[in-house]
Symmetry: C3
Subunit: 473 residues, 3 copies
């Protein structure tokens, strides 16, 4: 251990290309957008945090426990998830501090990852930490963060303002009453914008063990009988209306594949009935789900909600971890994705429908140049979603621009989404995206593929116009 | 809108790497090949343009309507294809000008795409335009291009000479009488070289609704009865001879997959017969087509025509667009490609056959390092085709060299092909390739992986020796 | 041919990034690791070379004939494998010299490939050659290498010491008596470390024509009856113990796919019995092999041998070449790989087992960011293997770091493996890896994503700590 702790400093040129000439351009481009408001049209921060404005409890339950990016890498190095607070309920001071120490003592395993970048940005910019986390500095860092969290300027609403957020989308179950969203919208002291997102995955998977109960709850909430297919569809439509009325701008869908094969009405009704009777096979349930994803597109054409797709993840890959800790703890692993044939039924029907928007995300990079960019470069409805999850990282973001721009340009990309439940990382994530786009555009300028005035305009668009256009804000 | 239009200038260093040291080397390498003749061994310019030497009608029907690269991106931004002249027949002055205005008014959607690069290169270099296209400059740009087209030095043959073309390949139906090619070869005032390419796709797909009529026409043209399999094969061989006699150097094949499984003669004859009776299933037709692709390789071994493959495209992805406007209007989307197993039957038979050449193209980048480079790095017959279509773009071309060179070197790559129906873009496309190869080689020099004398030799080879070798020119 | 031969010089900055600022950092990072010992935990050099310490016969049979990297590219340019000594038995002086001339006369086909880099490094650093190989210099180069080989300091043990090797792993059949390893370990004059690797592929493929004889030999060597499934498993366990006792640290597995589906004991026994009777189908043999790969993991959990996977290669793609020359002569071609679903059964069982290590290699780059890095970033057992075979090349190595680091960091990567049978290329291969990692880390430093002290520590770890950790050295 060093006698003097290593300093923690955020260099103003971080993430810019190394070439001095290109870096100069990147600096100017970034400076022009660095202070713009943050639009976050897809994420997982609970609306209740802002509605209730409750102070955050402790550094670990804010920065570590809910963040599967952090947990997974430590788990890969032999740390038990329970030692990070996962599945432990509210943490005592000792437990919280011990978990934080574990994180700091493993700081070197995060080298080269965006987790380290985001975490350090939070510590330095938000909490004023000036030493690099390690085993010797862990307690001091913990204390400093804890002291901050006790201040009123670190309560959720104050942070919303400090982060420059102009919109924050949550992700919600169709049966959610959106009470927190309602309370916010009715609160005269609140001037932000927090919108729900309609995420019906579980209701579309008829072989899920909870499906019957899910549909009963859907019936109860919507007041529409979900005993037959027509009622089920009507109930979903009803909940979409409810979400729209509470500010929703988009729906989100994450299934193992992206197929959208449409069934005839009789076949859809027949499979639905089999599902309702608990008799549906896995193959039939998959066929029904693919049909229902196309139905979601139909509803989007009708009600105007933007449809977003996040497919191609094998959820809960390590079953024992899922059984012990539940979902979203870091054991989801990507699989290869196919979109061209998978989306053809949906796009043949709705790909040129007036006002329809379909934003495609992937964790399989190979589809960026091969499928997403060509689709976004022909269909007016299709937008190339920002690099997501494992790909929300400096070099992956550069590869995304390199793979998508030449076939789809800039204007058919979605703008950045942070997709995070780590509230305090939102500014660092958006700034990372702005820095990398500035660097990418600067390279185009340096290679005389774009003039600097165009690059300035494009940098601004990517932060403001693109998310507004893609998500109809 | 700016009071003063933005200037349009082609920077002499465009597309070179930004690092000053590398750029210096790239400049020297590019300068050494910039003025070399243009060899275009695969493309879609009609031979009749050169045979007839008719002046081009108007800017839109030359630069916009036939170019699906331009149309698809505008369609992605909500422009109707009909508004760009697609499917409209000859354009009136007003219609042509309106379409051109639409293109210029959307100029920003092309940022970062090669379409923009090629289009600006044509406007600046060929037509002397000095202002950037936008809504305010559209008419002036249109007028300037139109004025040029009225001059004799903008007629097809003059442009052929001005472009420095030494060979231009067309792509032709086996039943084509190649009249334009014949007229050119008999014309004592014509000193260029325009060669046909044998593209038999439709004759190999027995489930196509037009297949029977296609084979009847093939019989009529060849004078060989195509009523049975042996006759069909003989008729194709006859037409290949005809193409050879008219200068053809290669055949081209584009099917949904690249499989080449060989059938026994009886099974091939049986499936053919079922096709002739209109009874063939989709699966049987696919099996027959895969066999016939291997037959094409056999014929290439015998007659010496270079075989080129352009697989892995889902043609006419958006059926309603196809039904309204036909093929080749921008709604083709790539799919994943597999070559290692697919080509094994063909390569086991003919992969080391004396003089056989098989040039592999792909729009799925993942096969460059995984399959194409290893195949080209073992089989004497296999050449790694240049980046094609969606991949004919600056960063994709760099990725291609980065993916292919380390396993296959430079000498087993095909040299650039433009594959375009946009005649006036040919010089800009070839120059783009030369600039990017210069930049790639300059990086090798800067990293001391190649000496500059070797890089100079390689840059020259890529422009001259490689296409001559791969296409046996 | 030039009057004066081109010089052969290894530039001290070779493979470093071109940007002067980044290069400065890379130089410092590389200098700090350049002289560290070479750990080679996976390769194909015969242990007998070191046990016997026999002088190498001639330049060709040392540098050309056994190296399929060299042979395949020359074959791709029309050189017969037999002309390179492949399948020819011991070479006469004339034959050896003629083959060497052929290599030199084709020197330009290696431009841009790592083969050229490694070969030139050997010639310049090891053999003191100062002229670039070509047709005119071939004989002089040959003579110089041959003269060196006659010196005692070019015998295998002297080279082992000169290369700074601290560990060299061989790859061995489970029935191998490891006599050379034993002799080395008992030799008081030998202070190196040569360890065997357990490679049981052929014993796991029950449809192989030699399988029955293989299992009979296994029974004879282990003294365990392999007539039933239990005996077969016990015999493999016995041989693993034997390998452990002779220093083995790992097992290696290379099958067409990576699936690991587990069978019930009765079903495994049933399929095994069918295999033993020669009645097993290809599908059944595949099912049995996938089960046995999971069994290998179980054994690794029990005996501590590190499990390494090298899947996704279509071996002997060109059957006629295999029939004439046998395996490993350059006609293996990669295929697409899937790991997420394939490894799930194995990882669900053993992924978090105490002490289990699974190192994943691939020649399909697409799985680096999509599957390997996410797996290595969650499972404590999983390590991302270094870029292998076709991907052991400068730009592929950079892409590997770019694809893996952001999800898995540095500490879950295996460290470099050379996987080579080209003994003399080992130092150049490891140095290439060190140079490229130095360049990658230097870029992180230049972009302020890592401090230089961390980069220095990481560079050192990648050479020392990572292979020691991954391979439990």
């Amino acid at each position: 251990m060093p006698a003097t702790p290593a300093p923690l400093e955020l260099h103003p040129d971080r993430l810019f290309p190394a070439d001095p000439g290109v870096r100069d351009v990147a600096r100017r481009l970034h400076a022009s957008v660095a202070e713009l408001p943050v639009v976050s049209p897809h994420g997982h921060v609970p609306a209740a945090w802002l509605a209730d404005d409750t102070p955050f409890a402790d550094p670990t339950s804010l920065l570590v426990t809910p963040d599967h990016y952090v947990n997974r890498l430590l788990h890969a190095h032999g740390v038990e998830l329970s030692a990070l607070g996962v599945g432990q309920g509210p943490l005592g001071e000792q437990q919280s501090r011990a978990a934080f120490r574990t994180v700091c003592a493993h700081w070197e395993v995060f080298r080269g990852t965006p987790v380290r970048y985001w975490f350090e940005a939070q510590l330095a910019e938000l909490f004023g930490v000036t030493v690099r986390p390690d085993a010797t500095t862990a307690d001091a860092v913990y204390d400093q963060v804890a002291a901050c969290l006790a201040q009123p300027e670190f309560r959720p609403r104050a942070l919303y303002a400090r982060f420059g957020l102009s919109l924050l989308a949550t992700t919600d179950d169709p049966c959610d009453d959106l009470d927190a969203h309602r309370r916010l919208s009715e609160d005269p002291t609140w001037s932000g914008r927090v919108v729900p997102t309609f995420r019906p995955d579980r209701y579309l998977e008829a072989a899920s063990p909870t499906w019957g109960a899910d549909l009963d709850r859907l019936a109860a909430v919507s007041g529409v009988d979900t005993g037959d297919y027509a009622g089920f569809v009507a109930a979903l439509e009803d909940r979409r209306r409810y979400f729209r009325a509470h500010g929703a701008v988009s729906t989100d869908h994450s299934h193992p594949d992206a197929r959208t094969d449409v069934l005839g009405p009789a076949e859809a009704a027949r499979l639905f009935a089999r599902g309702r009777r608990g008799e549906i096979t896995a193959e039939e349930a998959t066929a029904l789900r693919r049909h229902l994803v196309s139905e979601m597109a139909r509803m989007s054409v009708e009600d105007g909600l933007v449809m977003t797709l996040h497919p191609g993840i094998r959820r809960n890959h390590h079953t024992p971890t899922f059984e012990q800790f539940g979902a979203d703890v870091g054991t989801d692993i990507p699989v290869g994705l196919e979109l061209t044939d998978a989306l053809r039924p949906l796009l043949t029907r709705y790909g040129t429908a007036e006002g329809f928007h379909l934003v495609l995300f992937t964790v399989d990079e190979t589809v960026f140049s091969r499928e997403i960019a060509p689709l976004a470069g022909f269909y007016p409805s299709v937008y190339a979603g920002a690099p997501w999850w494992f790909l929300d990282a400096p070099e992956a973001i550069r590869r995304y621009r390199g793979a998508v721009t030449e076939s789809a340009g800039f204007a058919k990309t979605s703008g950045f989404i942070d997709d995070t439940r780590a509230f305090c990382s939102i500014p660092a994530r958006h700034d990372m995206s702005r820095r990398l786009d500035a660097g990418y555009l600067a390279t185009l300028v340096a290679e005389h593929r774009l003039t600097e005035d165009e690059a300035l305009e494009t940098a601004h668009d990517l932060v403001v116009a693109n998310p507004e256009r893609a998500f109809k804000l």
